[in-house]
């Protein structure tokens, strides 16, 4: 069908990723008539499960449940809609010298393991854990906050800032010291203050660089170390786990909750253009030519797509366009998904024990991590990359044929801006990843039945992530909080009346958190009440 359809909605949400679905669900629960439009045939965006090879179900992009906000799980009652999180216990790091480091959720086990490498570090690990939990307490509320704008002329913005300042002031001097360091230091500088074991620092620091174009020695990477502890405050293993049925199951549960609340969802409906009329968004036009009118348009796709592809920049203030044009994506990671005939056997810890059920991290030393970054700085994929692997089929047999396994490898660094062409180097990249793992698990190559290699270019083409950035834009200090995605436009509203942002390119950023979607819905509904949403 084409031309003006008579259907009209309170809100249409662009993109059926987890954030778009969360926003839709919350809007519908507030009584709005909502339509979600997804370009692909499947929902979930980067949080998706697909049968890439017959019988093998892959969490194609995002592969672990990291920080899905507990309030969202609660409010949308996701378990009832089929969300089941299976534990992902621990991180196993094989070392070239034949040793390994194996951290698990059981604090005391981990302590004993670390003591094998350094008694001092075992002691420090307790202190570190305590400090991190405190820091997490401070940061968590900020995740579900609409960022205050320090330059705002109005009193509310000023008070928001004062409140933030007061919360910081109320911290103990020791916690302030840690907080400041976490916000500004490099992961390694920060960890150096606590630990001496190289492999421990390397593996812990890895979480600081995931999805960014930064190295473990780059200032600003310490902050992400916190995320691992924020989950733990919610109790349980919720922070690190698999969804039964793969990451797509999370999106499906949210979609189910949304439908129950009355949301209408359409897949295979790519958007051609956001419709505006004298400075107001009035709806969207699909690639099919169909036009759908709505009071409000919420975009969960990144700002480059929203403002530079789906709109005519003439409809936007010049300064704003400039800010969006320089908003940094710079994808730095790739994904290699393997269908296996059996389980890899690691030289440093043979057998198919519990160490294979957690994450397996190729991060043997700090210099290894930093050199991987150096390659990327100059436009090459890492000759020896950092790899984070999981084998979900061990925990959730439903995702692979009996006796077979799926192995998901997150790989860094793979710079979007490659010297050369990704389409020509894709397989070379895949080989590098397999070779790197094989150095630790020699039998891997003989097990590989199918291999899917996703370069940053593929992430951009197939999943609509500009420059293949998995967080819809770099999580660097100058792109966080009131600066995400653009100074002055970090409160989910945009220069175009009735057009809102609700994706990972808004505060508090990427990862399967759902927080941007929830915050955006709250802000939009508040504006609606204030009568700011006018046709």
């Amino acid at each position: 069908m084409s031309g003006q359809s008579n259907s009209s909605y309170d809100a249409v949400v662009i993109g059926g990723g987890h954030n778009g679905l969360v926003t839709a669900a919350y809007l519908a629960r507030a009584g709005k008539k909502v339509l979600v439009l997804e370009r692909r045939h499947v929902l979930g965006g980067a949080a998706v499960t697909e049968e890439v090879f017959p019988g093998f179900q892959f969490s194609v992009c995002s592969y672990v449940v990291s920080l899905l906000r507990p309030e969202i799980i609660r409010e949308l009652d996701l378990p009832r809609h089929g969300l089941e999180i299976l534990p992902l216990d621990g991180t196993f790091t094989p070392m070239p010298n034949g040793d390994y480091l194996w951290r698990v959720n059981d604090h005391y086990k981990t302590r004993r393991e670390i003591a094998r490498h350094s008694r001092l570090d075992a002691e420090a690990y307790d202190e570190y854990g305590k400090a991190m939990v405190e820091m997490g307490r401070f940061v968590k509320p900020i995740l579900s906050m609409t960022p205050a704008d320090p330059t705002s002329r109005d009193w509310k913005g000023f008070l928001d800032l004062l409140r933030l300042g007061k919360r910081f002031r109320d911290l103990s001097p020791g916690d302030r010291y840690n907080q400041v360091q976490l916000m500004s230091m490099s992961a390694i500088d920060f960890l150096d203050q606590w630990f001496e074991t190289d492999v421990l620092k390397a593996t812990m620091s890895a979480s600081g660089i995931i999805g960014t174009f930064l190295g473990v020695r780059s200032p600003g990477t310490a902050y992400v170390l916190l995320h691992h502890y924020m989950g733990e405050i919610d109790g349980a293993f919720r922070s690190w786990g698999f969804a039964r049925g793969g990451t797509g199951a999370i999106s499906n549960a949210i979609a189910d909750a949304a439908r129950e609340a009355g949301v209408e969802i359409r897949t295979k409906s790519p958007i051609a253009k956001i419709l505006t009329k004298n400075g107001k968004a009035t709806g969207v036009a699909l690639a099919s030519g169909e036009e759908i009118s709505a009071r409000v348009v919420c975009s969960s796709v990144d700002p480059r797509l929203t403002f530079l592809k789906m709109m005519d920049s003439k409809e936007l203030p010049g300064d704003f366009v400039e800010d969006i044009e320089r908003y940094k994506f710079r994808g730095s990671s790739g994904k290699v998904n393997l269908a296996l005939d059996g389980l890899p056997e690691f030289k440093s810890l043979p057998g198919t024990g519990a160490h294979l059920r957690g994450a397996i991290s190729i991060s043997p030393s700090v210099d290894y991590m930093e050199r991987a970054y150096d390659d990327a700085k100059y436009g090459h994929f890492s000759r020896r990359p950092y790899i984070d692997m999981v084998i979900p089929s061990l925990t959730d047999p439903s995702v692979a044929p009996p006796g077979k396994h799926v192995m998901s490898c997150f790989v860094q660094y793979a710079p979007y801006n490659l010297k050369g062409n990704w389409d020509e180097q894709r397989e070379a990249f895949g080989d590098t990843v397999v070779d790197t793992i094989s150095e630790h698990a020699p039998n891997l190559k003989s097990l590989i039945r199918h291999r899917q290699v996703l370069t940053p270019l593929d992430l951009e083409r197939d999943f609509g992530l500009s420059e293949g950035n998995i967080f819809q834009g770099e999580l660097t200090l100058e792109q966080l909080f009131f600066l995400r995605p653009a100074p002055g436009w970090a409160q989910y509203a945009t220069p175009v009346r009735n057009l809102y942002m609700c994706g990972s390119a808004t505060h508090p950023g990427g990862g399967i958190m759902g927080a941007p979607g929830r915050n955006a819905a709250r802000k939009l509904l508040a504006d609606w009440k204030k009568g700011k949403v006018r046709a």
Binding site: R176, M183, M185, P219, D374, T476, E478, L483
Partner: protein, 530 residues
């Protein structure tokens, strides 16, 4: 000096001398104790070869905070500042060059040859940086506020600052907030396309740092300098007679106000009774009592070496040990028989070369130079900040001859292979060879060569870790966090012991800021007590 001094100042560097000047001016009796036989610390002029005198370490002034020269009447004491019309000349290996003039419009014109766009943008950048700098300038002469007990006067200062901040055009306000945490490489890429321009401005963000242009937070250093001197091309304030002339003017001024200065006396420890500093003990065993002690030495040296560990809370000492002060700078000083010929420079070479000379043609060049340091190697092709002071001040060398002062990055404190004693010359060669690619006849002109490694900076000039700023100027070690959060007000956990060096706000470079701010706090405390 009759009677016991009010304040002992450990170290006669420029900040120690500034502090002495202000304290004496306020009617107190300071006594400066300098380990070496010459005052000045890192701002000295020394003879590197008979007849050749050179600013051996710092070769250009920060510049000094404007009011310091006036407050201490340095002009009367012979301070003569030389300002070249070309602040910095950026060179490319192909013999292209880009002069950044004192007058931005001339720079724009020069840029026209490289890029129309940059020629246009430069003016806007210069003005924006200027507005931001002017707004932030008062921060430099301010004592970082205490989060828990903010004094009325300071609240007022902060409100005023907040008002000025809101007074900025919103565009600039956002820039101020964005630029600080940014990687300086990103910052310049947002403005310019010419590699030479990008690298010469980015270099300002990494000068003295253990970080490269891609390190986040290097934008903050650009802002600090903008506050110091709102100019996009960076400092080019030279002193007639070399940097030593600046510090001897400071010393004369301090003496005239009534300060006493003793050289060749090394302080071995700070004398502490019941948690209060009551004086110092010299290496000679001599004991000097005083009402207060101010240390111009860096924070680690002061609080970890000169103070008995038992006097400090272990938590504090631990944080002090974690204060990062691992340097990345080496220095090469050359006595030259003639002015070397730089590729691509024609007749007007002397005018173009009279400011700073920047050798580091691309961002990637600077970053690769830093990569080496990360793995414990000095850069095979270092970034060089070069001056030929004899072009403006012939008094420094025999007629026709010249001296060349080269600040070379990166030279990490700890080398992975060998030590600095054995690698000193290899480093010197790397620097000279790097420059020879731009001035082929350089080597033939060299009469004598002095190479200063990070180890020399530590042993000879007392800079812990060889860090020229007394500690890394990273986001977590500036303003209220310099040297440590909660201890940024020039005081220390030991009553009567103060810090007045570059390890305190506003940090490194020859600005006198730390000394002046510390003097104000010390005088206030001593007045309270009497």
């Amino acid at each position: 000096m009759n009677g016991t001094p009010d304040v002992l100042i450990i170290g006669g560097g420029h900040n120690g001398l500034v502090a002495a000047g202000y304290l004496a001016k306020s009617g107190l009796k300071p006594l400066v104790l300098e380990r070496r036989n010459v005052v000045g610390g890192a701002a000295v002029t020394e003879e590197i070869h008979p007849g050749f005198r050179c600013s051996t370490l710092a070769h250009s002034a920060g510049p000094l905070l404007p009011r310091i020269a006036a407050d201490l009447d340095l002009a009367e004491h012979g301070l003569k500042t030389l300002r070249p019309e070309v602040r910095v000349l950026a060179l490319s290996p192909e013999g292209k060059h880009l002069p950044l003039y004192d007058d931005p419009s001339r720079t724009s014109t020069a840029l026209g040859r490289h890029s129309e766009k940059d020629a246009r943008k430069y003016g806007e950048f210069h003005e924006s940086l200027g507005r931001i700098g002017k707004m932030a300038a008062p921060l430099l002469s301010m004592t970082p506020p205490d989060l828990d007990r903010t004094e009325a006067g300071e609240v007022w200062q902060l409100l005023k600052l907040g008002k000025d901040f809101r007074g900025l055009p919103r565009r600039d306000a956002y820039r101020l907030l964005r630029w600080g945490p940014m990687a300086v490489a990103d910052l310049v890429a947002e403005w310019f396309e010419t590699d030479l321009l990008r690298s010469v401005i980015a270099a300002r963000g990494v000068y003295g740092m253990f970080g490269g242009p891609w390190s986040a937070g290097t934008g903050a250093n650009l802002l600090i300098q903008a506050a110091l001197e709102p100019h996009s091309a960076g400092p080019a304030a030279f002193v007639a007679g070399g940097m030593g002339a600046l510090t001897s003017a400071l010393a004369d001024a301090a003496r005239e106000f009534g300060a006493e200065i003793r050289t060749g006396v090394e302080v071995s420890r700070i004398d502490i009774r019941d948690g209060r500093a009551v004086g110092v003990v010299l290496a000679s065993g001599e004991r000097i009592p005083a009402r207060a002690v101010a240390s111009n030495a860096d924070p680690r040296r002061t609080l970890l070496n000169l103070v008995e560990p038992t006097e400090l809370d272990p938590d504090f000492s631990n944080r002090m040990r974690n204060y990062r002060s691992s340097g990345a700078v080496g220095k090469v000083n050359l006595a030259l028989s003639k002015l070397p010929k730089f590729r691509g420079l024609d007749g007007n070479a002397p005018q173009l070369l009279a400011g700073r000379i920047h050798v580091g043609p691309e961002i990637d060049y600077l970053e690769r130079a830093f990569d080496a340091a990360k793995y414990g190697e000095f850069s095979p092709n270092p970034w060089c900040d070069v001056t030929i002071p004899t072009l403006l001040d012939t008094s420094l060398a025999p007629s026709g001859a010249h001296v060349m002062s080269i600040t070379a990055q990166y030279a990490p404190e700890r080398l992975r292979e060998g030590d600095w004693k054995s690698r000193r010359n290899a480093f010197g060669d790397a620097v000279v060879e790097t420059l020879a690619a731009y001035a082929p006849d350089l080597e033939s002109a060299i009469v004598a060569r002095q190479v200063l490694t990070p180890q020399d900076l530590e042993e000879t000039y007392g800079l812990t870790g060889g860090h020229i700023f007394h500690g890394e100027q990273a986001l977590d070690q500036i303003f209220t966090m310099r040297p440590l959060l909660g201890w940024a007000r020039y005081r220390t956990p030991i009553a009567g012991l103060y810090l007045c060096g570059a390890g305190t706000h506003p940090g490194g470079r020859v600005t006198g800021g730390p000394g002046a701010n510390a003097a104000r706090e010390i005088a206030a405390d001593l007045r309270r007590k009497t």
